[in-house]
Symmetry: C2
Subunit: 419 residues, 2 copies
């Protein structure tokens, strides 16, 4: 991944890998947002940036950062010119913020005293913290409001209702989305908040979700993090190093139908509530059978190490399959699904309590694929109807977005859409 | 603060200070939770621990960690023996988790395959990350259920309703609370979740709140973080180095009435929603007048540097006070309040969206004081009735807890209460 080059090699240089690592030591900057760092005192932490530009948007194969703030927006204007202009404004703001800079130069405190500041200020003194900002366009954006119907990719379907879905309309859909990932939650929140602010009069926040702990790793450089069922999550994910899978299963090409989406991808977001207190009463063996992997090492059942190949055919005493027919990794596997894979990039969440005595916890599932009709949908159909895990989870939110390709230093998020 | 010794000196050693700093480099452990770190691959990050034992509970003057998970619990049993036992169980679990260990040895994966695991596992491989766990007892715990009425400290009042309060009962009150602070949100969440789990049948989660970015610094070793109004928050806080203020304004003594509370403190929690989109339309000058400080440096109006003394008498052109009569720092100051001070330890939060197009953002205000009647209450009365900031905030949750003193390696959280 060329846009990751600087960062990854810096990681290598320092011999750091895995979860929770922040680079320490001043002067470790690869493109530090110096104009935001005047304070000096916090300059030692996590001063790395991810390049905003490249063939693909950052935030897809970028090694998952620690924190997520995801927001879906409704477009409230009917003036297409305002929408186009906002996408330009958002692009320049995103270009600056991902470089560790304020929304506009001297935005928080340098403007006229009588004017509202151009930046809300809570990320002053904080480094870029690997912030990535990724935009997506929802199916509803292609309705009759903006004349975009002919631009709608066939892949950008209205997702079907899956068995056992219990979707809250207030957590579902959206004309636009912004996925902000960073190694500091305040930096991710600052970015979404400032984009929301710039959208005033043009867009409104429909829903937003914070996440932590990055439930899925997307790079072989990262240790596999754990989700709130306590299992390693992301072992058998498409990784940034899997260039063949990325080409075949993640990146859209012109021949897929809409040339403007070449180099882009399709993002499925699902808010999945996890009944953790029920899960916690399940014996270890039962938990492992539901997943199809060992809890400690993450090894597939029947194997010994995390990254050993899954063998769905392996049998134990009495010829019983070790990986059960309704095990999560069997049903979701490319073997069962005729080669289908997706790139997962979810985050854990806890949103207060559920009102009946427990934490409201779950997985904010994010996945990128090239054709949602052929990849995510059959996978979710299989899981929703057969996965033993369904007893412990509930899908409460859902959205689907076309994620356009990456940018050059002079292009804008809306260019392809409005070309 | 003796319990902070190891940690602070390590910080000094590495020359690291301020927000967002994670110590990097293997072998940097000051009491690493080795039994949870088998994986090895993530062992480089933030491997510091805060001592669970000491004269006072950790998590009060401990330099504020990056992440908060706060939970309030209702006691559902009426059997006082069960409650006492739970407090013992919680204490041993907290002692272990703050040391970076699992709830019970080999809890997540080492038990019998047919038994539910003793630890939920999502913090396996993660270091202690400076986790502190602090318990508090709410006024309602001292009702007639457990025979504790005579143990209720006079300081532990039912908080009055303040002007403009708009409290949600689902975010208010609680028999018990656990404040979990850590430099990794997954570690804080894991701790609260496992305590909630151990409480099954005895307690239920009444409400819980995640926070980030620690809006108030509590140590001179820390750079002052910013709240979601973009201002530095904690400049004029009681710091862990202010031993006289801590003695006079934070720590209870036997002579205060209830000997079992000596070395403890009183915790006020207020969920304060901030109307950030309205705030963001306020000119810089107006924002600074509301607070009474400069946004960039954090200097008091009329002064030049953040830590310059506040001079409430300083006047500008035409003799107008530079720090307005309704400025936040005037109304909250010890000068105006006849010497009253509190120790603030709040966190920023974003809880999705408010349902009408904006982010639901705010400050989860946490403050410790020795006598809430004489400190927090008059301060909040002054702010709720006169603070110019009230136009931009709304108190939506409230709770009050007696926080017992610290522990020895063999004592338990309930000892004083049930002595
Ligand atoms: C709360 C919900 C979920 C949990 C806790 C969960 C957990 C896991 C775990 C522990 C693994 C094994 C480690 C790994 O290879 O990453 C896994 C694998 C996988 N999951 Fe999920 N998952 C969830 C939802 C989903 C959903 C909604 C999908 C897609 C529709 C999905 C697709 C996959 C795939 C493709 C794999 C890899 C299977 C293979 O080995 O080929 N998961 N999941
Ligand atoms: C969203 C709500 C609030 C915000 C955004 C806020 C923000 C601030 C800021 C920016 C300062 C100046 C820097 C500092 O010295 O820390 C400050 C000071 C202070 N605040 Fe607040 N605050 C809030 C609520 C409260 C509440 C509820 C209380 C107590 C009832 C409080 C008590 C104080 C005190 C005691 C000071 C120090 C005043 C002095 O200089 O002596 N604040 N606050």
């Amino acid at each position: 991944m060329s846009e990751e080059g600087t960062r990854v090699s810096r990681r290598k240089l320092f011999g750091l890998a895995g979860a929770g690592v922040a680079l320490a030591g001043a002067g470790a900057a690869a493109g530090v947002g110096i104009d935001r760092m005047g304070g000096g005192s916090t300059a030692q932490a996590a001063v790395t940036t991810v390049d905003f530009h490249g063939e693909h948007q950052a935030g897809i194969v970028t090694p998952t950062q620690q924190n997520l703030h995801f927001a879906a927006f409704d477009v409230t204007t009917t003036d297409v010119g305002e929408l186009r202009q906002l996408l330009r404004t958002w692009t320049s703001a995103a270009r600056r913020m991902t470089a560790g800079q304020e929304v506009v130069p001297n935005g928080a405190v340098g403007g006229a005293a009588e004017a509202p500041p151009g930046d809300t200020g809570e990320a002053l003194d904080l480094p870029a913290s690997d912030l990535t900002l990724t935009i997506g366009f929802g199916p509803s954006l292609f309705d009759d409001r903006f004349g975009l119907a002919s631009k709608r990719p066939a892949q950008l379907i209205d997702l079907p209702l899956f068995p056992k879905d219990k979707l809250d309309p207030a957590r579902t859909g959206g004309d636009l989305c912004i996925q902000a990932c960073a190694n500091d939650p305040q930096v991710a929140v600052h970015a979404v908040r400032n984009l929301a602010r710039l959208g005033f009069g043009v867009t409104e926040v429909r829903w937003s979700q914070l996440g932590f702990g990055r439930s899925s790793s997307t790079s072989r450089e990262q240790a596999t993090p754990r989700n709130l069922f306590g299992f390693k999550d992301g072992t058998n994910n498409i990784k940034s190093e899997d260039t063949d899978f990325l080409r075949d299963e993640v990146w859209a090409v012109a021949g897929d139908g809409q040339a403007w989406m070449a180099g882009g991808s399709y993002l499925v977001a699902r808010r999945i509530q996890m009944h953790i207190e029920t899960w916690d009463r399940e014996p270890l063996e039962g938990q492992e059978q539901i997943i199809g992997r060992t809890k400690g090492s993450g090894a597939p059942l029947g194997q010994t190490a995390e990254f050993d190949d899954v063998d769905l055919g392996v049998r134990g005493a009495g010829g019983v399959p070790l990986i059960a027919d309704d095990a999560h990794i069997r049903l979701a596997s490319h073997q069962t699904l005729k080669g289908t894979r997706i790139l997962r990039r979810g985050y854990n969440f806890v949103d207060g309590s559920d009102g009946v005595g427990h934490l409201e916890a779950g997985l904010f599932f994010l996945a990128f694929n090239r054709d949602t009709r052929k990849q995510y949908v059959p996978m979710q159909q299989a899981l929703s109807s057969k996965d033993a895990m369904m007893e412990y989870v509930q899908h409460t939110g859902s959205a689907h977005f076309a994620v356009p390709p990456g940018l050059t230093p002079t292009s804008s998020w809306g260019d392809g859409l409005f070309a």
